[in-house]
Symmetry: C2
Amino acid sequence: MSEFKLHCFAESGNAYKAALMLELSGLDWEPVFVDFFHGQTRQAGWRDEVNEQGEVPVLEHAGQTLTQSALILDYLAGYSGRFGPQSEEERREIWRWMLFDNHKFTSYYATLRFIYGLKHSGETPVTTFLRERAKAAYEIVDAHLAKRSFMLGERLTIADLSLAGYVFMPEDTGMDLAVYRHIEAWKDRIRDLPGWKSPYELMPGRSAQA
Amino acid sequence: MSEFKLHCFAESGNAYKAALMLELSGLDWEPVFVDFFHGQTRQAGWRDEVNEQGEVPVLEHAGQTLTQSALILDYLAGYSGRFGPQSEEERREIWRWMLFDNHKFTSYYATLRFIYGLKHSGETPVTTFLRERAKAAYEIVDAHLAKRSFMLGERLTIADLSLAGYVFMPEDTGMDLAVYRHIEAWKDRIRDLPGWKSPYELMPGRSAQA
């Protein structure tokens, strides 16, 4: 049995944040497939037993259960000694960006991608709204990355792994991503890391279970 | 000059999270009015000098500048010794709920309230979408509060102050809040705390500056 179990599914960029951290840190982990598309996370039993917040990822380790990707990243960095802060100032800078990610960067883009890219809604007032919000968040991160290689400077941290949750998802969101050229360059730098894998390589998904 | 300066405006529930924490902790603070409704947070100069993320609250203390309400709450709890975690397990539980708040509870409700309650959009596909998402988040928090007085048990923590950012805002959002009876009871408990004040009492707003 692996030391870490990650409840996840391949289409979840929030789960990918944790999966990529486990993989890049060389930890002994295995995925536990969550059948999100058949409503598993909405079942009362799943919420009672696994996560009352109704979300993945959920990490099991040493008798503990952790939820929320940013908190899981923080926990794993503490455990492995990799990709975490090296000072109190860095700790705050990491959390500042992980919070911005949860509130705006991941949030709007992931919801847009779910509706437009996975459910194939076509263009609606909601997708237009979400795309405008996603663009505003992308612009802020792009401007930040114009001045540094990674979110905190020249070294990859869990802030990068948080923000990178959805940027490697292949589905079309109707956004022209090429205009965010600093984000694109940052994605290339992450993709070049030893051990990097895409979401669909790291976790079981819908097609794998069909 | 006050020890703490909080860049804020009364309509911001995210700023209220920090303002209420400062007030309940008995700290020496003063607000610095941010003219959000005339675009101050979107100005390049403001972003360069105050907050590249384009948001309030921003806290100034002892030569440091902090952004992101959850991080400010964490910082103030550490400084004042009030409303913070008493163990590593509590620390994780606090962050777990502050992250859920940023991602879903505050996020959808606040955006709905801004569009529907402040900009008076009327009902649109976007407000319908946001309200459904807000309801799902409210249900999760309501179920959690059915079993305890505050988010972590019988004691107020910064997790409560984060989630309470928008629940005292008076504007109509088209949501029937009475159905969330555990949230309503929790609001009453917070309102009864010594020193509690409403957002519009604590911070300068549009009408105050008109």
